[in-house]
């Protein structure tokens, strides 16, 4: 039984890393949002599995938040916003997809090398979870840096945050996990409301962050 529990946890956490890679090479906003919904779904399954394995019922709440809020509500709202703002076009990448994927592979290798070494004494389940979680966090950062578009930066941030929730769920018996996932949901809700309320398009004519650079720094 223990072997199976471990294998499934491993499969789900590994799946999250894989979906992170899928986020990396999307070049259309709608596709990006759909993949993100998948990302949140895998996270919800993974956290629910941890709740079951660790016999920690409060983690089911975190899984439910991930499922309802991040896999359904946020993608739907972002879809609407994109429609309303009329920006359903291709995403501009700063660097080519091949190079981004290579960098992603490098980051995953790095996080495995670091985390597996420093957690040598931890339980194998927690160990692998932390290594995968750090990979997801770093890939999220990579998405944020390689995209110029505000919506895809937000998606990058949300996938990064999914990695953190995975880490928190994997650290056995960690208190405040539910509170932290609620706090993060509020943060994300703020960002999404921010995109809409501030009407970045109206203010900046485009949601392309590159256009914001014109205003950066000193104004003459």
């Amino acid at each position: 039984m223990h072997g199976l529990a471990f294998d499934i946890a491993h499969l789900l956490a590994g799946g999250l890393v894989l979906v992170s890679f899928m986020l990396l090479y999307q070049d259309r906003l709608y596709a990006l949002l759909n993949i993100f919904a998948l990302h949140a779904l895998v996270l919800a399954l993974s956290v629910a599995w941890q709740a079951f394995v660790q016999d920690a019922p409060h983690l089911y709440v975190t899984a439910a938040i991930a499922l309802v809020f991040k896999a359904i509500v946020i993608p739907v709202v972002l879809h609407r916003i994109i429609q309303r703002l009329g920006i359903h076009r291709e995403i501009e990448n700063v660097v080519g997809i091949g190079l981004t994927m290579l960098a992603g592979v490098g980051l995953v290798a790095l996080s495995l090398a670091v985390m597996l070494r420093v957690t040598a004494e931890a339980a194998p389940l927690a160990r692998e979870d932390m290594a995968f979680a750090l990979s997801v966090v770093l890939l999220g950062l990579l998405i944020m840096v390689t995209r110029r578009n505000a919506v895809s930066q937000v998606v990058g941030f949300m996938s990064l945050e999914n990695g953190l929730v995975l880490a928190a769920a994997g650290a056995k018996g960690m208190p405040l996990v539910v509170e932290i996932s609620v706090a993060f949901s509020i943060l994300i809700a703020f960002i999404v409301i921010g995109i809409f309320l501030f009407r970045i398009r109206e203010r900046f004519d485009t949601v392309d962050v590159q256009a914001l650079d014109r205003y950066r720094g000193e104004r003459q």
Partner: protein, 483 residues
Amino acid sequence: MSGLPLHPATLVLLIPLATASLLALLPSYRLTARLNTLAALATLAAAVSLLVDDPPAPGHYLLVDELNIVFIVLSTFVGFTTSVFSASYIAHELAIERLTPKYLRFYHAMYQMLMFAMNLALLADNIGLMWVAIEIATLTTVLMVGIYRTHEALEAAWKYFILGSVGIALALFGTILVYMAARPVIGEGLDAMVWTVLLGHAAAFDPALLDVAFVFLLLGYGTKVGLAPVHAWLPDAHAEGPTPISAVLSGLLLNVALYAVLRFKLLLSGNPEALAPGPLMVTMGLVSLVFAAFMLYRRRDIKRMFAYSSIEHMGIITFAFGLGGPLANFAGLLHMVMHSLTKSAIFFAVGHIAQIKGTQKIADIRGLTETNPWLGWGLVVGVVAISGLPPLGIFMSEFLIVSSNFAREPLLAIPLVSGLLIAFGALLLRLNGLAFGEPTGSTAPAEASYVPMFAHLALVLAGGLYLPPPLVLWFQHVAGMLH
């Protein structure tokens, strides 16, 4: 809190929280501005009474010890004086219709919310709670930075939001790693996230895990301190938000983030096999100092210039704490207090100056000492203080930092002293243009409240001339705690 529902520590949290919800409901801006000041004063009173009250036994969530009392008293004091300044600043913004009464209601509620979040972060005895508090503080300041809703304000808020979020995300990962390190020793559950418990068992933690955790925490909370590689949000957020918020950001929020770094540094130095946190902090501090010193020369916006000066000083403070030892820690604490007081005084002056002149461009502001002697000379004293000239307080603390540095690591004094001198030159160069020469722009008298600014400057001057022995004793004690 251990059976004391109305202990000052709880009051320091409850007053801002209750006022925040009340202010969100009240429509009249005159009333809310007064109530804001009143609540800040009450919080200050509660914070001061922490000094005489016996600290309660540390609980699972809250902790009162000598280290955080210094931060709380400073925080609530600057919070109070800024609320006095804010009342007169806001009245002008309303008169020129840059802000509407609806936004003001929101502004005052957010101000108290920020005070609550900062006090919670300082009082937290739980690394998870501290993280949540710093996240709330980030959110409220993001909202306040964007309150003018101009191109620049929104861009600054967005940049701050994204960088701040990444910062706190990294900090959370570090927090989880600390828990992972503590769990095998302390056991599962809440205890493994409580400061006092963590500190007691630090020696038994897995050193490798602690090392990685500290790197994440330093980068994460360091983003909020405004340390050099991850400082990019800071100048924009200072320049585009309302000036009272710039004062609170520079004077308080940066300190709160630094406090978090210091707590984790204590944890690491409790473990003999973990990496020494000092050199990392020294490096980041020096890089921030030298980088910001050079950037000061190219500033054309007055608030942006003082924002870079904040990066410079946070660099100096981080350097001092990274160096460690009783003298450097003492100097670091003193420098932090003096910097908070001086920088917020400067922002009080700059806020009114920008209102009178209708611009923040340095080139368009000249001859302030002639047109507005009080503000002009206040700014002169403030800038002289911040650039580290005697007899003001910052000279004293910088002198202590440099001399302890010479005694311990003479080679590091080269970048430190050259950074200080470069920044000194830039500030005095700009000050000359701002304060003296042919006056330009509007010469209308300011409807300013001078009391907060001069109160701060008087304290900084007093600190440079004479430090009362009880204060020295208190700071020495805290410096001893910090290793």
